[in-house]
């Protein structure tokens, strides 16, 4: 891929990823966040955090599908960091607009409420990944170490999905689409790797 196309695509990705945030700011300023602004902010940021995290997990399976898609790796860090960005606002919304900084409620939540525990754990798992996302950190850690650390993203994504299921009312199926997407992407890894290995073996045999 040439430089110009890459810059264009990156710009478009930035715009797409910033879109939900820009909408929220616009709606907050014009007081058009809907009947329940607090929950609009919480739901929008939470959903987009998960969506972008799952999109970042689509990069590897797509690259396994075809070597012609290898350029997608250049977008993975961007998606991951935007997921962290939305997760951070999501957490801030909870601390400020839901708890009003009331630490006694937070203490009850973090010890008693499983959806808060799952969500908070998922967020904490994302922190070291965001901190080690710079090129400098990758070099410093070494590719192997860095790769091992960043396996945490699977746990974070699963934790986020569990947080979503535990948050909705029992019987409500709205987290289903993201759950299926994540399951497909996680299963695609071993399956595609297996197929590739078999192809390689066949090539050697021939």
């Amino acid at each position: 891929m040439n430089r110009k196309t890459l810059i264009t695509l990156k710009t478009l990705t930035w715009i797409a990823c910033l879109g939900p945030f820009a909408m929220l700011v616009y709606e907050a300023v014009t007081n058009t966040l809907g009947p329940d602004p607090t929950s609009t902010i919480a739901l929008t940021t939470g959903y987009n955090a998960l969506l972008m995290l799952i999109l970042s997990l689509a990069v590897t399976p797509l690259r396994l599908l075809s070597p012609r898609l290898s350029w997608l790796i250049k977008f993975r860090r961007l998606l991951g960091l935007f997921a962290f960005f939305y997760a951070s606002i999501h957490l801030a919304t909870y601390l400020v607009l839901y708890l009003n900084f009331d630490m006694s409620v937070f203490k009850t939540d973090i010890t008693k409420r499983r959806f808060i525990i799952a969500g908070f754990a998922a967020y904490l798992l994302l922190v070291p990944l965001a901190l080690t996302s710079t090129t400098w950190a990758i070099r410093k850690l070494g590719g192997k170490q860095w790769n091992r650390l960043h396996k945490l993203v699977y746990l974070a994504a699963i934790g986020g999905i569990i947080h979503y299921w535990w948050q909705v009312k029992p019987g409500v199926l709205s987290p289903m689409n993201l759950t299926i997407s994540l399951a497909v992407l996680l299963l695609a890894r071993p399956i595609l790797t297996y197929i590739q290995k078999r192809k390689a073996r066949q090539a050697v045999a021939a």
Binding site: L24, V25, A28, V29, T30, N31, L33, G34, P35, D36, P37, T38, S39, I41, I89, A92, T93, V96, L97, N100, V105, T108, D109, K112, R113, R114, F115, W166, Q167, K169, P170, G171, V172, L173, S174
Partner: protein, 331 residues
């Protein structure tokens, strides 16, 4: 960054930008002005006053049927009414979809005429009431009530109806009737959205007999001077203002008097989270969130949070119903 207060945009600009028709813009302007005043000065504008301000607008509503009403001493005062727009576009009515915005889009297909309410179970004789007869049974009263959802949001709604007790008297329940069960309309061919959740339909709710007979329990036909919009439970529902919203069954087709505590939808779904009583109680948390505070619908995000009141502020009237009961156990 989201904590910052919105800049002071003149409401005239908001109006010109909005794509709403004249009526809606006017109402929105009123709401902005009123909520602005309330937030800035901490002033509480009387609900009646706002209802007066808004009433000219309600006549503009297309095909909305107006209802003749009388004043009621049981109406809540000192609260700022939630706008008609929010009351009709932020609904939990899962038969029409699980998103809050779904019922406003989908509930139009609910056939509200002809409509009958079947009365059965522990009664002298089963009966069927026509909706037109029920509308004329008693004078319709304006009853402003706080409405607190188990999800920790709240509204203030100017309902229209009369005490459910007036209707129950017409049903001649037997002394053996200890509970009343309400079944909502359900037709899979009409309500095509029920597969969005794994709930058993029809929606079922219930009250203890003394709760049902309490004068605050409202048999409800309308709101804001007009018949109930479909998404708010047309054409007939109950409203129990001291309980979480899901206790107030919508679009009722069957009223059943029973001896034992009836099986109710959310209780069946998860008894730990949705008790049979489900009285608004800031001291008994939902397993998944605190019930100490709530978000008032229609206010800006920085002004929504408020303290939840015991029995939703109706303790003076209803606390005696639960004398001697452990409300932490009987949640």
């Amino acid at each position: 960054m989201l904590i910052r207060k919105p800049s002071d945009i003149p409401s005239s600009e908001i109006t010109s930008e909005s794509s709403y028709n004249d009526f809606l813009s006017r109402r929105r302007f009123l709401r902005t002005a009123v909520s602005g005043a309330a937030v800035a000065g901490g002033a509480i504008v009387g609900a009646d006053r706002i209802a007066d301000l808004l009433s000219p607008g309600t006549s503009v509503l297309a095909d909305a049927e107006k209802l003749q009403t009388v004043k009621s001493p049981l109406s809540t005062t000192g609260e700022q009414l939630t706008s008609l727009e929010d009351i009709t576009h932020y609904n939990n009515y899962y038969e029409f979809g699980v998103q809050k915005t779904d019922p406003a889009k989908n509930a139009g297909v609910l056939p509200t005429r002809p409509w009958t309410v079947k009365v059965e179970g522990q009664v002298k004789q089963p009966k069927t009431f026509d909706i037109e007869a029920l509308l004329k049974l008693r004078p319709l009263e304006d009853r402003v009530y706080r409405h607190r959802c188990v999800e920790a949001w709240s509204m203030v709604v100017p309902w229209i109806g009369y005490s459910l007790s007036e209707f129950i008297k017409q049903c001649d329940p037997l002394p053996s009737a200890k509970y009343v069960q309400f079944l909502s309309y359900y037709d899979k061919k009409v309500e095509k959205w029920t597969n969005e959740s794994s709930i058993f339909w029809p929606y079922s709710e219930g009250l203890r007999m003394d709760e049902a007979m309490h004068p605050l329990t409202l048999l409800t036909f309308g709101l804001y001077g007009q018949v109930l919009p479909n998404q708010d439970g047309a054409p007939i529902r109950i409203v129990v203002p001291w309980k979480y919203g899901f206790k107030s069954a919508k679009s009722i087709v069957t009223v059943r008097f029973v001896e034992k505590m009836p099986e109710t939808t959310w209780y069946q779904q998860n008894p730990r989270e949705y008790g049979f009583y489900s009285n608004v109680n800031p001291n008994h948390d939902h397993p998944r969130w605190s019930q100490k505070t709530e978000r008032r619908i229609g206010l800006p995000f920085y002004a929504q949070r408020r303290t939840t009141l015991m029995f939703n502020g109706y303790a003076d009237q209803v606390a005696s119903l639960y004398n001697g009961m452990n409300l932490d156990k009987n949640y």
